[in-house]
């Protein structure tokens, strides 16, 4: 974190607006952050630590922050935490860097110019969009390459233990993002590299963190995985699980991770049922070189699905087993399918979504 002032100086900024949630302050993380800027030229324009962490970013709070940003003469934004804190920071950045109503910039690639410097300090939370090029404000989706954070800070001091539930949910969002980002035929090796490392880090560290939530190494590895999954996911349209997860979470208020977690192995099985291929690299990401080479080529798809299924099962009661258990209304499936298909820019069809939702209703046996 001590490098932040150097990074800000390189972007010609020295007065950031800092956003955090109340929980972040209660855990003493904002204090650590402020201390890291001692003896530098950076004056914190304002520290706003009242963002609701697991809520969506709302427009009234955003307007207040725009006012605060302008009143204090800030020139950059730093977000500490994840989820709505980062969404809000991105929203403020859009509003202060552009003229007009922020909602005019909702949608894909509507932002046409570079935004103010934006730094994201991870605390190990993952809502899926922190390191990506998208943000959700008032449930509207904003997508632009200008929304990528300029700097992502992963510092051991800031990555603290979470509950088992939160760790599992965050990891499921990142795992979904990583798996779906390398499941398109027109992928590039750079993207695969990010996604594979993210999958591997989550597979190797999540169960350890669930058993021992205070594990420093495990939590840092997961934070790395979340960052890489977000980056890799930005290069392709969302897949079926991610889009459906967002649609269900948006409507029901359930955490995204819960919705995506149990849909993920089901979607892979669904693809196999439809005779669609699953790339062998998934097994490579899960097991590494030796494990990958040990499995015959024809068995690689089924082995990766078995491993993933086992992995989700090992999380025990942390994830729901079916949509029925989650008390999702069946009559809304069509609406979810429509939203998911729209969000994925027709990468997935409504028919596929409906089939997957029907399977997920009964869920994992």
């Amino acid at each position: 974190m001590e490098h932040i002032y150097v990074e800000l100086a390189s972007m010609d900024a020295r007065k950031p607006l800092v956003l955090a949630s109340r929980q972040v302050t209660e855990r003493g993380l904002t204090k650590k952050f402020i201390k890291s800027l001692y003896d530098s030229n950076v004056v914190i324009g304002s520290l706003y630590d009242e963002v609701y962490p697991y809520h969506y970013a709302c427009i009234s709070q955003l307007n207040d922050l725009v006012e605060l940003f302008k009143a204090r003469g800030c020139d950059s934004i730093i977000a500490i935490g994840g989820g709505s804190v980062v969404d809000l920071a991105k929203g403020v950045n859009i509003a202060v860097s552009n003229s007009g109503n922020i909602m005019d910039y909702a949608g894909t690639n509507t932002i046409q110019k570079r935004l103010k410097p934006f730094i994201y300090v991870s605390t190990g939370h993952c809502g899926g969009t922190e390191t990506s090029n998208e943000a959700y404000i008032e449930n509207r989706r904003f997508v632009s390459d200008f929304l990528f954070p300029d700097v992502i800070i992963l510092d051991n001091r800031m990555i603290t233990a979470r509950t088992r539930q939160r760790a599992a949910e965050a990891s499921m969002v990142a795992l979904t993002a990583a798996i779906e980002s390398c499941a398109v035929p027109y992928n590039n090796p750079m993207n695969d590299l990010y996604a594979n490392v993210a999958i591997n880090f989550i597979y190797e560290n999540l169960l350890g963190v669930v058993k021992k939530p205070g594990s420093k190494t495990g939590n840092l590895a997961l934070a790395n995985a979340y960052a890489m999954a977000g980056i890799s996911f930005s290069n392709i349209p969302p897949g079926i699980v991610y889009s459906l997860g967002i649609a269900i979470a948006r409507d029901t208020g359930l955490p995204r991770g819960q919705c995506m977690g149990f849909l993920l192995p089901l979607s892979l099985e669904h693809r196999v049922m439809k005779n669609e291929s699953i790339r062998g690299e998934l097994l490579y990401a899960l097991l590494g070189t030796e494990g990958y080479c040990r499995v015959p080529e024809k068995d690689r798809t089924s082995t990766s699905i078995t491993i993933l299924r086992q992995f989700v099962n090992d999380l025990g009661g942390l994830l729901p087993k079916s949509l029925k258990e989650m008390r999702v209304n069946k009559y809304k499936f069509e609406e979810y399918a429509r939203q998911a298909s729209e969000m994925s820019m027709k990468r997935v069809t409504q028919k596929d979504c409906m089939q997957l939702l029907d399977i997920a209703w009964e869920g994992i046996a």
Partner: protein, 180 residues
């Protein structure tokens, strides 16, 4: 929204850490001057540097600094901390006081600090490498083996630096650094 609830937070100073680093820089600067007269290897390293060579080793953005360079007679000299009127040929900047403390409390060697992106060098890379080698030798003279091992990349074996050279050099460097 009441804006006054969210005031500006100016950065505080870290006086103790700054003072510690300033003292260490003074000692290292003086020791470099002394070593250049006592140790043949350090002398040799300095002889390859240009005549108007002037090193500035400092802590950004406004931390302590030290100047070591060659005077008109070609002798290596510690030239204080004040940058006024000095034209540096090699500028070695430690990015922050925390990074400097890590280096000067020997929790990180110069090589590890460089790999962790804690140093910015402006000037010839050859000169910078020479200075890092000189700093390693100076640390060997100044500190006991148990600490120096943490601060240098490789502690020299007996065949590379004889005990006679090491201990005689250590005594002479200390005498010259704190007296002459």
């Amino acid at each position: 929204m009441n804006i006054d609830r969210y005031p500006e937070i100016p950065p505080k100073d870290k006086f103790i850490k700054k003072a510690y680093v300033a003292i260490m820089l003074w000692i290292v600067g003086r020791a470099m001057q002394a070593a250049s007269r006592v140790d043949p290897v350090v002398k040799e390293e300095f002889s390859h540097l240009r005549d108007n060579f002037l090193l500035r080793l400092w802590v950004a953005p406004n931390g302590p600094s030290m100047f070591v360079g060659k005077d008109k007679n070609g002798k290596v000299k510690y030239m204080g901390w004040n940058p006024r009127g000095k034209k540096t040929t090699l500028d070695m900047q430690i990015k922050g006081i925390e990074q400097a403390v890590l280096m000067f409390t020997f929790q990180e060697s110069t090589a590890v600090a460089t790999s962790n992106d804690r140093l910015i060098v402006s000037g010839d890379l050859d000169d910078a490498c020479a200075i890092v080698r000189i700093l390693d030798i100076v640390e060997i003279f100044l500190l006991p083996k148990i600490i120096t091992k943490l601060a240098v990349k490789r502690y020299p074996k007996w065949s590379q630096m004889s005990p006679l050279r090491k201990y005689v050099g250590r005594v002479l460097v200390y005498i010259r650094a704190f007296t002459v």
